[in-house]
Symmetry: C5
Subunit: 263 residues, 5 copies
């Protein structure tokens, strides 16, 4: 949501300030500049990656606009419940909880607990999973970052090409200003696409990735606590340290909330 | 305090040097430039974060002007007193000290000692707390840093838009200078807002965060020493290594000071 | 493949946008600029390396265009098969598998298992091998990166030399524009060679190196699992954590596939 | 010493090359530029720190001109002597050596040995001391670095303010050159103050800090060796590995030197 | 060798492209620019270091032109021979090999084995030695890097001084071009000295340092293997993992070669 909002605010800021200065938008229209900046930076960025790296990139860009951050509160509720079950009925009783789980990471961890895998091994497998997450997300993030860093360069290329032509053919000095005006347009498009499109998307993707990693760390810690036989109260106390103090409600409150929902 | 002071000194330096050069301020007034730089960089920065990340940002900016650094001397006094109580009356006697504590971090640590939690576990929970502090502060700091890095870019966008219009419509060459003058204004605002507003606030927030982390490390070390049964003297010696030599007064002096206060 | 494609797309973007603006290509031809940028940046880059570092550089550049990423799926199949053999017939039975192996890294690891080398020692030797891979690849990657960072500088040198001559000999002010146009050409070549040739090749080489390192980590993990007597099912589960969820097919599917191929 | 010398050489280089080019110094005098660059960058830098951080800054700047590097040779002599005493007469006999010691770090370590503190604890306390050294020195170093990075920006602000005024009031085009000349002056002052004053001071402070840290590492290693009962010969061999081969004289030579001094 | 070669190629590229463009070299001669850039950047760089840091710098610069990389093949041969002797005749028999050794690092390690020093201690002393190598080489490398980063700045200072004088005294507008031409010369010298002299030398020194560190790691590993009683075959297998696959010849081949030489 902030991605839409932020980009729209920034574009409005440019539009409104242009109007305030009494400048026209006609001079700012440049299809060739647009083409050079967008297609050129895409091409250059493309050449540094493998095709297989880039398959998830379009989906990633959509996610940067629509992606929701994970909800640690709900995860803590669930892990508290699992700790209760594990204590009362043993870890094998967790098996029937597996079906309701959407989160494949939590599912994988729980499955291993049920299978009686050793705690160190559970940690190891889940950490490999987290490293693989990095490995999967990084190419998309880096591709958008690359576009953001190549766009101003492509803009400068367009401007220099324009200047070289203008300066080399100064038959009509009156056209000097117009030529420079057109040449500068590519610079403008390069800067705008980098800073209003590519870099914000890359920042958002990075932020969503960081939130997901932090969430998985909470899950990993909770899963190991459940396996270790921690009490529901201890699980809540430990995991609430990960979240904002405003969102910490304590074991009692969470129990009530969960049993309320279940009722 | 230094934040106000520093920014006022820097602005005065610009104002005074402008007067010294006999330049006028009229040419430096540009509402459209102000609007583009402030709103534009806010928009672009916004799009790289989640709404929930940014809720604490306004409060953080106020803190950068008013925030006080933590007082390690007082914390050492307190931990010395706790060590004394723990040695004389046992760790359970620390429970009644919990009520007077404002610092939630020290409270959490002490509560765990009273609850008889194992030393390694106390360290672990407090370290998760410290990692969560990073997680909470970083988005605000990074948001202000982002505004500081986008402001000059938005300034440049405004200048290039101005130049394109001016060069494209050179009906009156006499206006060339005036046009460039107005176009350059956005560059000026971008540079000034980045370097006199956003980046100093970000530096101050980072510095306050670093001081808080260092303070929490001192607290963690002291809490574990108290739990481990260290003598008040040992606690003071160990913790004074964290602070400036000028501020080290030794166990005897601190004891006197604390009992003086208590009397 | 993407290297060709990406560079061609970027060049087309420049060509098409130049045509769209009605600019000519004649003004963009500059053999002296080409010479200065390519030979100059090669020379400067060369001086920071040893001759022996640079022997693999030409091969590396070709690989950046043709290199294929390693196939983790096939490696998992193989390691699953080895785990089966090791369990059924003992590790010595792996010896006859050694002949079919192309991958020298897997071969080295397997040979050591067959020789009865201790697990920690196997890990150590394979990790030295991986460090040596870094040591071998880095000079080539850094050489191409150096060319990418020196090319714009050489372009700027050419432009400044041109400007100094033009400004120093302004006998005919009418030539001013033409002189600047020619001077700017070297800047253009520097930017284009850096961003459309050297940097994309360096990125691709870095990416291929990173993929190879990640692949070797999977192999190392699998080899140690085989030596440790893990079941084929456990090997598959553990190693599939390294790969994209879309590509995870599970032990049963892989067994079928492998025996299908063998039949 | 090098700080004076280096800055004087660099200023002379500018002065002499200006004379060689037949340029006058009159055009380079600009009190307003000087004021803006120095006071402005001080203000901006100030706003990112706490007052308490900056108390040691003036002293630090003086140290950057006068500070001497620690003498590892003398420290090795002393530690060799301590090792001898500890072996012959026991660690308690080290107590009377404490009085002659100027170095508070060595004193602290030795005091702990005499007090019979455990080796791991000695290391821990001394490492906290070293971390606190970082904590104390970094704000001063970073403050001077900040001034070095803000000075060119303040210079650019002054130049843009000058250009805006000049371009906005081009009543007399003949004044154009003079106006630009004055405007550029602030850029010059910004670059000169950053590169000839602030950054060299920051580098020197960093270098002195690094040397002090390296020296304390040698001391820490030596103190622990003395406590561990190493022979004087072993202490010398171990500690001389830290210093330049030219300065390694061996145990025998050092013994002679020390007893010669004592005689 | 590559240092000479690379710098000569780059200078030739500039010379040839200048000729190709029909530009003259007369306009490129500027003793004052040369003086400012070389002496000025030396002065500024000097002020950030201690005199004692810089004593090895001139020697280091010469080494960057003449320095040879260490020969790992020969070191492996030697260590293989030592392993043989240690196995057959015991580690004390290594003493007579010490005399022939030129490499002080290998000598130090071997001496300690002969002295019966514990393996962990041998590793520790050799690692201190490697850290001290860093400590010794870094100031020289950083000094040359500093010159490379200050040279363009000094060039810019010279150009701005020139521009200020030219613009402030535009009595004869016809001289405008010539003045700018001369002013730009310092920029050119700054860029050329940084990129064709200082930075390549710094890169080469860094590369030679890295190669030396990698070589010492191989030696350290080999020395510990010899002490641990590894067979010559195992020593060769382990150490050949450090080197390029093309250069791996195996134990048998090496034995033959070594005994061939001895014969």
């Amino acid at each position: 949501m902030t991605t839409y909002l932020g980009i729209i605010i920034a574009i409005l800021a440019i539009v409104i300030s242009t109007i305030m200065d009494g400048n026209s938008f006609g001079a700012l229209v440049g299809p060739s500049s647009l083409f050079l900046v967008v297609v050129g930076s895409m091409g250059v960025s493309l050449s540094g990656f493998q095709i297989s790296d880039l398959k998830p990139a379009p989906k990633a860009i959509i996610i940067s606009f629509t992606g929701k951050e994970p909800d640690p509160g709900e995860a803590i509720d669930r892990l508290m419940k699992f700790a209760e079950i594990a204590r009362k009925e043993g870890v094998l009783a967790l098996e029937e909880q597996l079906e309701d789980l959407d989160d494949p990471f939590m599912k994988l961890g729980l499955q291993q607990i049920v299978d009686g895998v050793d705690g160190d091994m559970v940690r190891e497998v889940l950490e490999i999973e987290m490293a693989a997450l990095d490995e999967r997300h990084n190419p998309s993030i880096n591709f958008v970052k690359a576009m953001g860093s190549y766009a101003p360069t492509m803009g400068m290329v367009g401007t220099v090409v324009g200047l070289i032509n203008m300066l080399g053919n100064m038959s009509d000095p009156a056209q000097l200003g117009l030529g420079m005006s057109v040449a500068l347009l590519t610079t403008l498009y390069g800067v705008i696409f980098a800073n209003l499109v590519f870099l914000p998307i890359a920042s958002k993707l990075q932020r969503l990735h960081d939130l997901e990693v932090a969430h998985k760390e909470l899950l990993l810690d909770g899963i190991l606590a459940v396996q270790g036989g921690a009490s529901p109260r201890m699980v809540v106390e430990r995991l609430e340290a990960y979240i904002n103090p405003d969102m910490r409600v304590g074991h009692q409150e969470r129990s009530k909330r969960v049993s309320g929902k279940a009722a």
